[in-house]
Symmetry: C2
Subunit: 462 residues, 2 copies
Amino acid sequence: MDTGFVAALGDWRTRSGPLARTLAAAVRDAVVDGRIPAGTRLPSERELARTLHLSRGTVVAALDVLRADGWLHTRHGSGSAVRLPARLTERTTPWSLDRGGAPDADLDLTLAVTAAPHEAYRAAVARAAERSAPLLVDSGVATAGLPRLRELLADRYTRAGLATRPEQILVTAGAQAALTLLLDHLHTDRRAPVVVENPAYPGALAVLRARRARLLPVAVSPRVGWDTDHLAAAVRRHRPRLAYLVPDFHNPTGAHMDAPARRALAALADRHDLTLIADETMRDLDLRTPPGGEPHLAGARVIQIGSASKTLWTGLRVGWIRATADLVRRLCRNPLQAQLAPPPLEQLIAAELLGEPLPALLDDRRARLRAQRDHLTGLLAGTGWTCTVPSGGLTLWLRLGDDGPSATDLAARAAARGLAVTPGPHFAADRATLTHHLRLPFTATPETLTRAVGLLRECAVR
Amino acid sequence: MDTGFVAALGDWRTRSGPLARTLAAAVRDAVVDGRIPAGTRLPSERELARTLHLSRGTVVAALDVLRADGWLHTRHGSGSAVRLPARLTERTTPWSLDRGGAPDADLDLTLAVTAAPHEAYRAAVARAAERSAPLLVDSGVATAGLPRLRELLADRYTRAGLATRPEQILVTAGAQAALTLLLDHLHTDRRAPVVVENPAYPGALAVLRARRARLLPVAVSPRVGWDTDHLAAAVRRHRPRLAYLVPDFHNPTGAHMDAPARRALAALADRHDLTLIADETMRDLDLRTPPGGEPHLAGARVIQIGSASKTLWTGLRVGWIRATADLVRRLCRNPLQAQLAPPPLEQLIAAELLGEPLPALLDDRRARLRAQRDHLTGLLAGTGWTCTVPSGGLTLWLRLGDDGPSATDLAARAAARGLAVTPGPHFAADRATLTHHLRLPFTATPETLTRAVGLLRECAVR
């Protein structure tokens, strides 16, 4: 027999648990890993039993588990083939957060990301593949972005009230890549500190630390938002030239900047020759009904960066910078850009999805996230832990009680029980404070959130 | 009529030249830009004339030019559709280097890159698109790489004599991304300098400069190779902890490290606690017949990095690190990795191409590059300029005469005549020296190389 199927299962016997369930889990994992392509026909039960040195009964039991969970499609007379269960392609929770809802799975609540919108994304990939020929006869080197994608992104800003020409858009391999490129141009005085929020998006902290930038943290909280007075005082005193802010559904706190604060910050930047980098990655994930429609944080000294990684899929790795056409031209000449520009094919896929299909995709996504957020806040009621319900984004910022374990201790205990969560210090500019906060993403399914909060509560009282 | 076709042409009237040729060039450029998809049916001649405010005769003449150049396919009774000419899909020279061989095109000899292997790449994209479904139900966040791709890359090393397990491979968004990630772990003492070659690969210099690393340049030349004695002395004196080297068909010089120098460097690294990062991006572009088969630069203190950007296509943006499994695990936990990992779909495409199809693809590519290199060295005979014929890679390192203009002056004069070339200082660690060198890639067609060298000779005597 073809031993490819069995080889693709890897070292599955090292897992614990009953053999039939373990075998079923190994097949499931191999399908999602792509080691066994969906549609692959299974060897016969007898062949499987022989090659795997298992009893026929164990193999039959494993296949029954797979069939019951939707991983196996059996057509009379032509055997069984593996497939993706429909419930996986119809949810926004990524498979690895709970292994597709497997009751024995470890839970991962460290990631604030969603699965791709399955059918629309597959159609976009197929269409991009069809249209890839002209790209392949060229060099594939970094440019400012595919013309169609730059036009589409410029149009979105213009329709939102921020007049933008395609020449003002630079397509990057995500928001972190955008920040890296901008820092290389704007962070030229290494003594001048860079304003960051506290807590902050860890991806941005990593980029700043790699450049050995001095950080100037300003507090943000989901309840009171940005402390603009403190920020103004810090700017006057420490003379930063740069600030990195997430005004829309801030990661991790979910805080959302109101219109007066946006105006105040833009004016402050003007007055003090401070460049604001506004990361709008979460902006489209407004969970209010109806959405709020605050203006962009904008002004002569504001550069917007964005990404499709949260609204579409992290695996796309497409983001962008909106700046003056002149700065975009200069950024394009940066030798770092070669590593910070997304592959042309991914840009084609982005262009397929960020236009006409986007509003419906976002509506669906927002509805699911809203339900998951509400489920999570419901679970937290009565725990003694507190949070402000975020009006958008993907995460909730939980304050633990002072008399319980620290977030780091709680995370360690949870990890021992198979639940991964990220404690507050991970988001702290100094890596040490925020010891009684946890970031909880509501990208998981209600079932998984219920299991996770239950586990956390058990760990807290242990 | 549908005005999309005309809109997609953009501001074509701003170009100089006869109207019919200009219109034809605008259509050609719009097809390669993807603004007009290959296969699009043209409006009728009468409609085009009316919408573009041109005479019918001008439109007919433009279409005749396109048809003669292979950009238009006319089927009796069903009108004309745009397409890519077969000669474009069958060459390794990227379109933008000479606009597909257009006699009026500016020439770009600044890029040492090739077009994709067209048919094989298209097939790989289509197959990856078919297999993308399992990826889309997961998070798309950075991992160490798709299991199939890591296995395939580990196998290649093992078959080349360097035993490697998949756990030792970390897939990155190219060699520059690999270097960025490695520096973030290994370049921890900012006072210790980093050894680089002089001249060096500018992409690596950019990454090192962004980290504000101190550079310790050591000379490399295509004739005498690496000055290992000088390197040993510099290591003893300046105590670098890190070195970045391109031992295989070095960019820009084409130098190739012999086996004794490889052994000497690995021993030096061992002795002085120096980590060598060996960039093997060019290794598969061995133009000798038969290929030489020098061993990898390898040892306990050597980390190999590689990339498919030169052997397959720069637009793929897939590279990798080969290190200890322990270092790979640590690199995976680096928050920078999120921006330095390639999209899963591109990894699928890489896995389709880097296995069984690769040897035939490389043979074809090497034959074309060899012919282009030989054509270029033939053109340079009798110019008074000197070079060592490179035994591999994509570029030739030209030494100009001392009595003529500097490379920077020559490049400026050539630019004024529509030829872009990169002068030596661009590759210098100090950005100032190497004033009488030029890098000439032989990725262009023989016709383009002939035009380019002719222009350079004219500019030199002016």
